[in-house]
Symmetry: C2
Subunit: 188 residues, 2 copies
DNA sequence: TGAAAACTGTACCATTCAGTACAATTTTGT
DNA sequence: ACAAAATTGTACTGAATGGTACAGTTTTCA
């Protein structure tokens, strides 16, 4: 029996980066092969289902990372504002101040067969939900908390679009800073 | 000499819709042909340069429409808030309350060869610029006006992403309404 | 009306696509 | 060391890709 600790998981970051940069249609097997350094043999050994299985694995991994490092820490009990501030920092780091595409957001725009509609919807629902929950715990009314949470997540997605469009990473930071301030001010 | 009023311009809306829904890579000639009802012969008659020329024409048309109906009306002199309100209304109608993708925004995310970087950057710069200009005319400081303009445009882009992700057009409307309110409140 | 230009459908081309087959190699547990 | 399993590169397949060629039709204008 060969090792069960495959290298499959190690390829996920590179795979994710390819899909982020090229999109699903643009990520041909040739591009994927070049980016991962793996030949077709290896790719189909790890992902017998081909591209479909690759992006499924990538999306599951993304969801896991966000759950563990960003969403869950926000959902826990506690009346502090610090977890929200941490969320902004982690998100900025993850998306490289808007230089790196949000794959979930990209799939929200282009998914003609609605293949990823479920994962994408759940991802954003969860994100908005945990932010709103935290705001309520800070004393915001349910309506205000929901609206503010939606605006925060929308702003982050929009900030990525604008940063990619303008090439100005300062723009992302400025936008996030404004969200931070608004929460701090109104919550005080 | 045959008519010079070709049907080429008539195909642009359908062409734009295809690129919006499928992205550039996802819009194969088969899809384009089906969506426009034009065979390859006609398509290459109107657009000898193929897909590249098609999307160039689409982007130029989009830019023209936005300039004439949205950007220019904002740029003119005048201390009224009404043009800003009109901008939100027109944008909501154009993007079908977030149901319709912003092609410029989509290309900001996926453009591995930086083919469209110029048009996309100019489009968003112009958008932000005209909003900021109008805010300054309303008495905002240059810094505040710039930051607010960036946030407004980012919010619209993010609203499209979230609406496509959740399928909830009310979300788009709620987000835009919040921008409207903030401007009204702070400007007052 | 008639010739020139614009338009369009069809067949075709070379290339790239995702995916398969499989032999050869490497790794693994014993 | 050795056999089984995992891994990998290469060659291949049929389908789809973007694009070309061109004959036939329609439109235009003089």
């Amino acid at each position: 029996m060969a090792r069960l600790v495959t290298e499959r998981a190690d390829t996920l970051p590179k795979l994710a980066e390819v899909f982020r940069e090229h999109g699903y249609d643009g990520a041909s097997l040739a591009v994927i092969s070049a980016a991962t350094g793996l030949g077709k043999g290896s790719l189909y050994n790890f992902f017998p289902g081909g591209k479909a299985e690759m992006i499924d694995a990538v999306l599951a991994e993304i969801r896991k990372v966000f759950d563990e490092t960003i969403f869950d820490p926000l959902a826990g009990e506690g009346g502090s504002e610090e977890p929200l501030g941490a969320m902004f920092s982690k998100v900025g780091r993850y998306f490289l101040d808007g230089d790196r595409v949000c794959l979930m957001g990209a799939l929200a725009l282009h998914d003609p067969h609605k293949t990823f509609a479920g994962v994408v919807r759940d991802y954003f629902h969860r994100w908005i939900e945990v932010v709103a929950t935290r705001l309520r715990e800070l004393g915001w009314s349910p309506d205000k908390a929901q609206a503010e949470a939606e605006e925060i997540v929308a702003n982050i997605q929009g900030a990525i679009v604008l940063t990619r469009a303008t090439g100005d990473r300062g723009l992302f930071q400025r936008l996030v800073e404004r969200q931070r301030e608004r929460i701090g001010i109104v919550a005080a």
